[in-house]
C-alpha cells in the first residue's frame, strides 16, 4: 500500500511538472502570436504582405502550428485516447501538412521583415518556392516513369523496328518456277503417306498414295478410326 501511495505521489509530481512546463510553453507561444499579429496589423509593414491576404495566411499558419504543438505535448489529450496507433496516424495525417504550412509561413516572415538580409523581396520568394516545388514534382514524376516497364517498352520498340527491317536470309532461286493457276483449282497428290498417333501405336495410315485432280469429287469410305480426318488434312 505504501509503495502504491508513493508511486501515485511521484506520478502526481511528474504530471504537475509537465503541466507547469506546458503552461510556460503556452504563455510563450501566446506572446509570439501577439507579436506576429502586431506585426501583421502594422500599416508600415511591406506592401507585398497586403497582396492576396498574405499577412492573414502567415499568421494563420503559425497559429495552427503552435496550437497543434501544445495539443501534442499535453499528456492529458494523449492519455484520453485509447488507441495509440490511431492517434499516431491522426497526428501524421494532420501534423505534417500543418508543419509544412507553418515552416513556409515562417520563411515568408523572415523574408518579409528582413528582405535586405536575404537579398530578395517576398515576391521573388514565391518564384523560388514554385521552382523548388517544380523540381520535386518533376523528380517524383520521373521516378514513377522510370520503371522496368519503360525499359521493356524501349526493347519492344527496338524489336518493332527490327521486325520492320527484317530481311530473309534464305536466298531466292535464280530461276524460280512460275505458278500457273489451273482454271478448276489445285491438284492434290499424296505419296507414301504414313502416320502414327504415338510412336508405339499401330500406324493409321501406311504408304498411302493418291492423286485428286482439279475439279474431281472424291469420297472416302471406311471404318471408324481408320484416319479420315488425316486424309482430309
Amino acid at each position: 500500500m505504501l509503495v502504491q501511495e508513493l508511486l501515485k505521489a511521484e506520478l502526481n509530481i511528474e504530471q504537475g511538472i509537465a503541466g507547469h512546463l506546458i503552461q510556460q510553453e503556452v504563455v510563450f507561444l501566446d506572446r509570439q502570436k501577439e507579436t506576429l499579429l502586431r506585426l501583421a496589423r502594422n500599416q508600415m509593414a511591406r506592401r507585398e504582405l497586403l497582396i492576396f491576404g498574405a499577412k492573414e495566411w502567415i499568421v494563420r499558419g503559425y497559429t495552427e502550428l503552435s496550437e497543434l504543438m501544445v495539443r501534442l505535448t499535453d499528456p492529458k489529450s494523449v492519455s484520453d485516447t485509447l488507441d495509440l496507433k490511431e492517434t499516431q496516424a491522426q497526428v501524421v495525417r494532420r501534423f505534417f501538412p500543418q508543419l509544412d504550412t507553418g515552416f513556409r509561413s515562417l520563411i515568408y516572415l523572415f523574408v518579409a521583415f528582413n528582405p535586405d538580409y536575404f537579398g530578395m523581396p517576398i515576391s521573388q520568394l514565391t518564384f523560388l518556392e514554385t521552382a523548388v516545388d517544380g523540381i520535386y514534382a518533376s523528380v517524383s514524376n520521373l521516378q514513377n516513369y522510370l520503371s522496368d516497364k519503360l525499359i521493356r517498352d524501349i526493347f519492344s520498340i527496338r524489336n518493332l523496328f527490327e521486325c520492320i527491317n527484317f530481311k530473309s536470309k534464305v536466298a531466292r532461286p535464280k530461276n524460280p518456277a512460275t505458278y500457273v493457276p489451273h482454271p478448276n483449282g489445285m491438284k492434290i497428290q499424296a505419296k507414301d503417306v504414313s502416320f502414327k498417333y504415338h510412336e508405339k501405336s499401330q500406324p493409321v495410315l501406311r504408304n498411302v498414295n493418291f492423286t485428286i485432280e482439279p475439279g474431281e469429287l472424291v469420297s472416302i469410305v471406311g471404318y471408324n478410326g481408320s484416319g479420315f480426318p488425316l486424309k482430309r488434312r
Binding site: G119, L125, L146
Partner: protein
C-alpha cells in the same frame, strides 16, 4: 520471309514483342517515353529559374525551402513504416 525462318525462337520472340506493342497502342507508349524528356526539361527549367533567383545572400532561404518537402516526405515515410 521463308516459312522455315518463322519457326526460329528468337524471331518469334521479336515478333511477339512487336505484336504486344501494337496491341497496347504505340501512341501511348511513345507518349510515355516522351514524358521522360518532358520531365527532364521541366527540371532544367526549374533549375534555371532557381539559378537566376538565388544569389550569395539568399542561399539559406533556398536551403530551407528545399529541405521542407524533403523532411516532410522522409518523416512521413518513416512514421508510416513504424506504424506498420
Amino acid at each position: 520471309m521463308d516459312i522455315s525462318e518463322l519457326t526460329d525462337h528468337n524471331i518469334n520472340l521479336c515478333f511477339e514483342d512487336a505484336r504486344r506493342l501494337i496491341e497496347q497502342g504505340v501512341t501511348e507508349i511513345f507518349t510515355r517515353q516522351l514524358s521522360v524528356v518532358v520531365q527532364l526539361m521541366s527540371i532544367t527549367a526549374s533549375y534555371a529559374t532557381l539559378a537566376s533567383l538565388v544569389n550569395r545572400k539568399s542561399w539559406p532561404i533556398l536551403g530551407l525551402m528545399a529541405s521542407i518537402p524533403l523532411l516532410k516526405n522522409s518523416a512521413s515515410v518513416h512514421t508510416v513504416e513504424s506504424l506498420g
